[in-house]
């Protein structure tokens, strides 16, 4: 009697969450998966009349064969493969350094966490301003009004004040490599705080005895880092790498922040589009079948990469 009353009450507490989850989580899973396998599915066409869609892999074949998809895939994977290792290593070095100092540690820790609490669109606009060149670029005799602070610093360091001595990072006529470089810098800048926070937390929980033992053996700092710190920190490192890859494959707003909804420099819109950007593009073109297929592909990639990461860390992570 009491038992069934408890049951009934538990479901009452769960009811609001369950109802919302059924509508906005469970149904989408079922519906998105089924739309992906209905060839050429589109809400508009369906509303237009009595049409049936063929069941098959057509959406997937269409998406994978599309040149935009290949470009988006290339961008996403490149950004992931560069930004995740770079930001992880930098964050590790900063965390270890923070852990090794006494005075000013709290203040520096606060500074390094600051980029976390920012709006990626807003700060993206600041980065764009820093890399932007004002003037007529690409003409035979470029007239430059303002080089932008990044180019100003480069000019200052190189000591070359020739008006042609500047790098076109994001303006009309800029190269793909330079665009990617700016994106990498911005994404790494954005990714550091979370990684530093997690790694520093891990460092502080390492038993001091290991370091005392290393001191007795007077092991050099570098060896202490590679032989003690990194192995003992490996669960945390695995964690930031996995979440880094998951976040990296969903990269989108940071590119909107710097390049706007063009997703690329003015002369080549869409050049820096990513997987997520592609999904929203197809959605706005009312191509739900294609969008669903692309989303499932993204899910598959994330799943595979996470499993690989877990496998690697099973072998390498020292618990």
């Amino acid at each position: 009697m009491v038992e069934s009353k408890q049951q009934w009450k538990a479901w009452l507490y769960l009811a609001p969450a369950i109802v919302l989850l059924l509508i906005f989580t469970v149904w989408p899973i079922i519906n998105t998966v089924s739309m992906a396998f209905l060839e050429g599915y589109s809400g508009l066409t369906k509303a237009g009349g009595d049409v049936t869609f063929k069941i098959g892999l057509g959406n997937f074949i269409h998406v994978v064969g599309h040149p935009d998809f290949l470009q988006a895939m290339k961008n996403t994977i490149l950004l992931c493969l560069i930004t995740v290792p770079v930001s992880t290593i930098l964050a590790l070095l900063i965390a270890v350094a923070l852990n090794a100092i006494g005075p000013l540690r709290k203040a520096l820790q606060t500074i390094f966490f600051l980029p976390y609490v920012t709006n990626s669109i807003a700060i993206g606009m600041v980065f764009a301003a820093m890399f932007n060149v004002i003037g007529s670029i690409g003409t035979r005799r470029p007239v430059i009004v303002s080089y932008g602070i990044v180019n100003d610093i480069i000019r200052l360091i190189s000591g070359n004040s020739d008006p042609k001595n500047f790098i076109n990072f994001i303006n009309t006529g800029s190269s793909y490599e330079m665009n990617m470089l700016v994106m990498v810098i911005y994404i790494v800048w954005n990714a550091l705080p979370f990684k530093i926070l997690v790694l520093l937390g891990g460092l502080q929980s390492i038993n001091k005895q290991y370091y005392d033992a290393a001191k007795v053996d007077s092991a050099p700092r570098w060896r202490v880092l590679t032989r003690i710190t990194v192995p003992l920190l490996s669960p945390m490192i695995a964690y930031v790498v996995i979440t880094g890859f998951i976040g990296g494959f969903k990269e989108y707003t940071s590119i909107v922040g710097i390049f706007g909804e063009n997703m690329g420099p003015v002369h080549d819109a869409g050049r820096l589009n990513t997987m997520v950007g592609l999904i929203y593009d197809s959605l706005e073109l009312d191509n739900q079948g294609g969008a669903s297929a692309a989303a499932l592909i993204l899910f598959g990639i994330i799943l595979v990469v996470t499993l690989i990461n877990l496998q690697v860390s099973k072998k390498r992570v020292h618990y």
């Binding site: 606009m125 600041v126 303002s146 997520v276 999904i279």
Partner: protein, 296 residues
């Protein structure tokens, strides 16, 4: 003989200790140098945003630039405020943020309580299934939710910005963990005293979990402030537009000859509330964030 051996060894030891000390100071100095350099890189965009927002357009375009504005132009802020209609955007975002945080907290508390304290069939299975959905990228849900909200007639409303995201498995997980730490004896004692579950939840468990609830509130509010993709898709009209979308819409050009001082003033205004939250509530954000791995 033995005497001199001893002094020699002592001398040796002193020598190495001086050597070590020197090395220690050197490496410590290197560490500080590295940290200061990195801190400079981290802070520079903020510095550039603020000083650019205070310059006149003519001064901004100077090359090499001034490192501090010659004439402080506060009028950029007024211009940014009206150009981007920031007042309206601010109100919209606050409204959506507050309502969705409040509703989300209530739902999260109820759900976490059921999972932490009540007994029902299939509890473990259901909880595992919920956790599994966290692996699925949000885009997969968005595609169908977009059609759902259209057929519900919710396009361009506050409802569409609030309701689809009220349940967060991550928040439920976070709060459940916290609830589980509260000793069961307390619950049984309350039962003996004839306290109802509902009263126990609000009088004992909620106050004891306040830090987690504050973390959730901050993350949820920051989520509303930074949300961009979903609002752009479903509520990008003048009346309901959120602040990030408004910022992007008002300043579409990021490259070329743009009025950057005004643009930077708008960016600074949008960043200011986040900065204040950071200064005063950093502790709660950090404790929430280190367990999440997701932004906002």
């Amino acid at each position: 003989m033995a005497e001199s051996m001893k002094t020699m060894r002592e001398k040796d030891m002193r020598k190495t200790s001086v050597y070590q000390k020197f090395f220690h100071v050197l490496s410590q100095g290197g560490i500080y140098l590295f940290l200061f350099l990195m801190a400079l890189v981290v802070l520079f965009p903020f510095y550039w945003m603020v000083i650019s927002s205070l310059k006149s357009l003519a001064e901004y375009r100077l090359s090499p630039p001034t490192l501090f504005p010659v004439h402080v132009m506060l009028s950029n802020y007024a211009e940014a405020f009206t150009t981007a209609n920031l007042g309206r955007l601010f109100m919209n975002t606050m409204y959506v943020g507050l309502v969705s945080t409040l509703l989300s907290l209530v739902i999260t508390i109820f759900t976490a309580f059921a999972f932490a304290r009540l007994q029902f069939k299939g509890k473990e299975l259901l909880f595992a299934a919920l956790l599994a959905t966290m692996m699925i990228p949000g885009e997969l849900f968005t595609i169908t939710n977009y059609s759902t909200v259209i057929s519900l007639g919710w396009l361009n409303s506050y409802t569409v910005l609030i309701v689809p995201f009220l349940v967060s498995i991550f928040y439920i997980y976070l709060l459940r963990q916290n609830f589980l730490q509260i000793p069961n004896e307390l619950y049984l004692a309350a039962k003996v005293d004839g306290t109802s579950d509902f009263k126990y939840l609000w009088k004992v468990m909620v106050p004891l979990s306040l830090p987690t609830l504050i973390s959730i509130t901050i993350l949820k509010m920051m989520g509303a402030w930074n949300s961009y993709i979903w609002p752009r898709l479903v509520a990008n009209d003048e009346e309901h537009r959120m602040i990030t979308n408004g910022l992007r819409n008002a300043f579409t050009d990021t490259t070329g000859d743009v009025n950057y001082p005004v643009q930077m003033a708008a960016v600074a205004l949008v960043s200011l509330p986040l900065f204040l939250v950071f200064v005063f509530l950093r502790k709660y954000i950090m404790s929430g964030v280190s367990r999440s791995g997701i932004k906002g």
